[in-house]
């Protein structure tokens, strides 16, 4: 029966990685949409979110089935718990991509304001964090997972900078408040997106080391 369980766990791993690939693609699209204020890409992100939602439900059902039928323990149990949580985080990252796309849809209809805040580095960092957290999962790499966690602080700093810049811009351009609030929300969503990648990294550490590193100072 152990062989059957191992096969089932492998299946889950493959499904999580397919979902991860799909979510990575969406985040890449999000970066492009933000960089180019591209409404058509944004619309595509919004229209295809159901694919991520369906895959998430499928993975969760599979995980619950294995828990009920095999009662896994030790590393298998940790893998399954991590899979359930990573699955959830991936779906939430998809949602943040949709949130950002919605903001892009709004700002793309309005005249552009130059030199408010360049989101490209922030979006690219969040994208890199997602890729690294998934690589850490695939390669069972604790060091890489810890690197993701430290990168989250950099994204937080970028969000603070965006806040300051946008606050100044609102003061200088009170007639563009609506536009600027949407820009601010993009930074908020990107920061949340990075938080979910951090969660994935933390789950990878739990899976490998058996220790919960959440809420720790590392």
């Amino acid at each position: 029966m152990a062989r059957y369980l191992i096969r089932e766990l492998d299946k889950i791993k493959k499904k999580i990685l397919s979902l991860g690939t799909l979510v990575e693609e969406r985040v890449r699209m999000t970066t492009a949409a933000v960089d180019n204020r591209d409404a058509s890409i944004a619309q595509k992100i919004i229209d295809t979110d159901w694919e991520i939602d369906e895959m998430e439900v499928d993975v969760e059902e599979e995980c619950l089935k294995i828990l009920a039928l095999h009662q896994p323990v030790a590393v298998d149990l940790r893998f399954l718990v991590a899979a359930i949580k990573i699955n959830n985080d991936l779906e939430r990252i998809g949602d943040q991509a949709v949130n950002i796309a919605q903001r892009v849809m709004i700002i793309s209809k309005q005249p552009e304001m130059n030199f408010v805040f360049d989101y490209a580095p922030m979006a690219e960092k969040a994208e890199a964090m997602l890729q690294m957290s998934l690589d850490a999962l695939v390669n069972v790499d604790v060091d890489l997972a810890f690197k993701v966690i430290t990168m989250d602080d950099e994204v937080d700093e970028m969000k603070t900078k965006a806040y300051d810049r946008i606050k100044t811009a609102i003061k200088e351009n009170p007639q563009r408040v609506g536009y600027l609030i949407n820009l601010l929300l993009i930074s908020r969503h990107l920061e949340r997106l990075a938080d979910h990648t951090t969660n994935i990294a933390e789950e990878v550490i739990y899976l490998i080391e058996g220790e919960i590193v959440r809420h720790n100072n590392y």
């Binding site: 029966m1 323990v73 030790a74």
Partner: protein, 283 residues
């Protein structure tokens, strides 16, 4: 190069008869204020070294589960704890086993009262071919724990209550014990063990002959009994070990590989052998 030289000789391919090095036990084999203390315990069946250098404390009011593949020595170790191995001629036990401060292998120790203090429940329910009442009363009588009928009645009733069997048998105490269902017979055996006032109860796969409902009742009972007694249980069911015990000890080829708190063993075992066994990678 001589082509013959490439072929390893038959003798060289033969595995060594016995590992020479005893691995250090991983985890926490020792506890504060233990009920039983085992140090450097070795058991030999003739030439076979069945238990190697096992050191382990058994805590008060705890259920400790012994797990491991067949032939790993867990039952052999359990049987050392009340000198049941004395009944096997070729068996030799070395090392120290203390019950509180008593060295149970001291030559002055009488095994009859020892086995009342450290009772044992076996895999297959084995009630005496006597009435339910006499099954319980037999032990207290031969150990001189009761002086008259009233005292015997009381011991029978309290033991059956503690074993969770009283309500089911109180109206038919004169019926033969062997007429009960398997699960009831096993609880009768537990009641019989309790009747002589033990400190420690050893259980050697007590549920392996029982259905899931009877198993569940015994497991509930084990948890209740823990309030008063120390329980050492050998089980092949990992789920049972995880459900009933507070600490788990993993044995492998006569060595005590790992001991730890049960939640830790089943979520994050430290030793690879423990992990491989509990996840079904071997065994």
């Amino acid at each position: 190069m001589d082509p013959k030289a490439e072929k390893p000789k038959k003798a060289a391919m033969k595995p060594p008869e016995q590992q020479t090095e005893v691995p250090a036990t991983v985890g926490e084999p020792f506890v504060e204020q233990p009920r039983m203390v085992c140090r450097d315990v070795n058991v030999y069946y003739g030439d076979k070294h069945a238990i190697r250098e096992v050191s382990l404390d058994i805590g008060r009011n705890e259920v400790i589960a012994m797990i491991g593949p067949s032939g790993c020595g867990k039952s052999t170790f359990l049987r050392c704890l009340n000198r049941m191995n004395d009944t096997i001629d070729i068996c030799r036990v070395t090392g120290t086993i203390l019950l509180d401060d008593l060295n149970i292998y001291d030559k002055h120790v009488d095994v009859v009262p020892l086995r009342a203090q450290v009772g044992i429940v076996f895999q297959k329910p084995n009630p005496f071919p006597k009435s339910i009442y006499d099954n319980i009363a037999y032990g207290p009588r031969i150990h001189g724990l009761v002086r008259n009928k009233a005292e015997t009645d009381e011991v029978v009733e309290t033991s059956l209550i503690k074993a969770g069997l009283w309500e089911e048998v109180k109206d038919r105490l004169d019926n033969p014990g062997t007429g009960l269902s398997g699960g009831q017979q096993q609880r009768l055996c537990i009641a019989r063990t309790i009747a002589v006032g033990p400190e420690v109860i050893l259980m050697d796969e007590p549920c392996s002959a029982l259905d899931p409902i009877a198993t569940s009742k015994i497991e509930d009972l084990i948890d209740e009994l823990r309030q008063q007694y120390t329980i050492v249980i050998v089980t092949h069911s990992m789920q049972q070990a995880s459900r009933v015990s507070q600490r788990t000890a993993y044995f492998h080829l006569g060595d005590l590989i790992e001991v730890g708190k049960t939640p830790q063993i089943f979520t994050n075992p430290r030793h690879q052998l423990t992990q491989d066994y509990i996840t079904g990678r071997f065994g």
